[in-house]
Each structure stands twice: as structure tokens, then as C-alpha cells.
């Protein structure tokens, strides 16, 4: 979706290093989400936000933290990256918690 971007698009890092992924939206949507997508699994929710400074855990939140200081930005942080966190990460947004979600282009993260 043109109204939501992610950075970086690709990243290679080493085990034990901190990593922050950024999601930026220009639609003023209240809800934002972080998912990961792995072969053999559907998209799985990591964390979500229902407003500025309001966040909660999803299905696979261990090892991840998030922050949302502005409506348009939602950050995902891996405090100490592990090889099991090698994945494609997608950010999404929605107007309400029951409307369709619109996804960003994804970030491919490789942890060596």
C-alpha cells in the first residue's frame, strides 16, 4: 500500500546485535501491527498498537519490543537478535480493530 512504508527493506546482522525496524504510515490510521512470515507458517502477529504509546503483545512476542511515539511511526526492536528471528517482517495498519489491514512491502532480515 502506497500509504505505508518500511525501512530498511533488507538487513543482514549478526547474532546478539540489536536491530530496529521502522514502519511509517501517512493515512492517520489508529491501529498498527507487526507480523512475521516464515515458510510453512501463515503470517503471525508479533505486537500491535491501538494508539500512541498503547501497545500489546501478539502470538509470537518473545524477543521483540515495540514503541509508538507518533501516530505515523511504529518501531519493532530485536534487543539481541537470534538466528530464529531470521524472517520477513511486515507492518500493517487499519482504521479500526475490525477493518481490513493494509500491509507494507516488508523487511527481509537475516541473522547470521
Amino acid at each position: 500500500d502506497a500509504g505505508i512504508t518500511q525501512s530498511p527493506r533488507h538487513k543482514v546482522t549478526e547474532t546478539g546485535t540489536p536491530v530496529t525496524l521502522r514502519c511509517h504510515q501517512t493515512e492517520n490510521h489508529r491501529y498498527m501491527y507487526w507480523y512475521r512470515q516464515d515458510p510453512g507458517h501463515g503470517l503471525r502477529l508479533i505486537h500491535y498498537s491501538y494508539g500512541v504509546k498503547d501497545t500489546d503483545k501478539g502470538e509470537v512476542s518473545d524477543g521483540y519490543s515495540v514503541s509508538r511515539s507518533k501516530t505515523e511511526d511504529f518501531l519493532l526492536t530485536l534487543e539481541s537478535a537470534t538466528s530464529s528471528q531470521t524472517s520477513v517482517y511486515f507492518c500493517a495498519m487499519s482504521r479500526t480493530d475490525y477493518n481490513e489491514q493494509f500491509f507494507g512491502p516488508g523487511t527481509r532480515l537475516t541473522v547470521l
Partner: protein
């Protein structure tokens, strides 16, 4: 536990050969059933939302339908550009249990 199961996992069709993709769900208090298209290396692209059994939505060669236990994505006279992975997701309400995704159907349309 909420579950969404898609079948088949992969489907290869000839151009013009119509077919259907299945999404069966066990989502408590379903508040919406979503279909997405995903091309390689890209994020999922929203296609349809269905809210109640009997509802149907159409877009070009695609039509989505919903019953109390499953949803179908019908593809009529597909073209090679319809090749993609199609994802289904159920929504049981807000918050952490919001969207449960299936693993997708990888569709290939051969010219």
C-alpha cells in the same frame, strides 16, 4: 484455538480454466473474513472482506463467498497475471486475537 486452513496448498491451471480456492475456519465469534493476494517479494494486497454468511463480493475475475464454516475464492477464466499466493484470514475481534491467517494457496496460471 482459532484456526484457518486453506486448500489446496498449490494449484496449477491453464489460462481460462476456472477454479475455486477454499478457506475453512474455526474462529470464535467471526467478525470478518479477509482475502489477500501476495506476489513474490511483496506485502499482502487486500482483496475482500466478508462479514456474514451468504455474502459475496466480486472484483474482475475474482469472487469471494462466505458460509458459516468456510469461504471460497472463485477465479473465472484466469490469466497469467492472476498467478500469486492467495491468503485468507479470520478476524475474531480486536487485539491480539485479531487476525488469524491461513498458510495460503500458491496459484500458477499457465499461458
Amino acid at each position: 484455538e482459532d484456526q484457518v486452513t486453506q486448500s489446496p496448498e498449490a494449484l496449477r491451471l491453464q489460462e481460462g480454466e476456472s477454479s475455486s480456492l477454499n478457506c475453512s475456519y474455526t474462529v470464535s465469534g467471526l467478525r470478518g473474513l479477509f482475502w489477500y493476494r501476495q506476489d513474490p517479494g511483496k506485502g499482502p494486497e487486500f482483496l475482500f472482506t466478508l462479514y456474514s454468511a451468504g455474502e459475496e463480493k466480486e472484483k474482475e475475475r475474482l469472487k469471494a463467498t462466505l458460509t458459516k464454516k468456510e469461504s471460497f475464492l472463485h477465479i473465472t477464466a484466469p490469466k497469467p497475471e492472476d498467478s500469486a499466493t492467495y491468503l485468507c484470514a479470520g478476524h475474531s475481534g480486536g487485539g491480539a486475537d485479531g487476525l488469524t491467517f491461513g498458510k495460503g494457496t500458491h496459484l500458477i496460471i499457465q499461458p
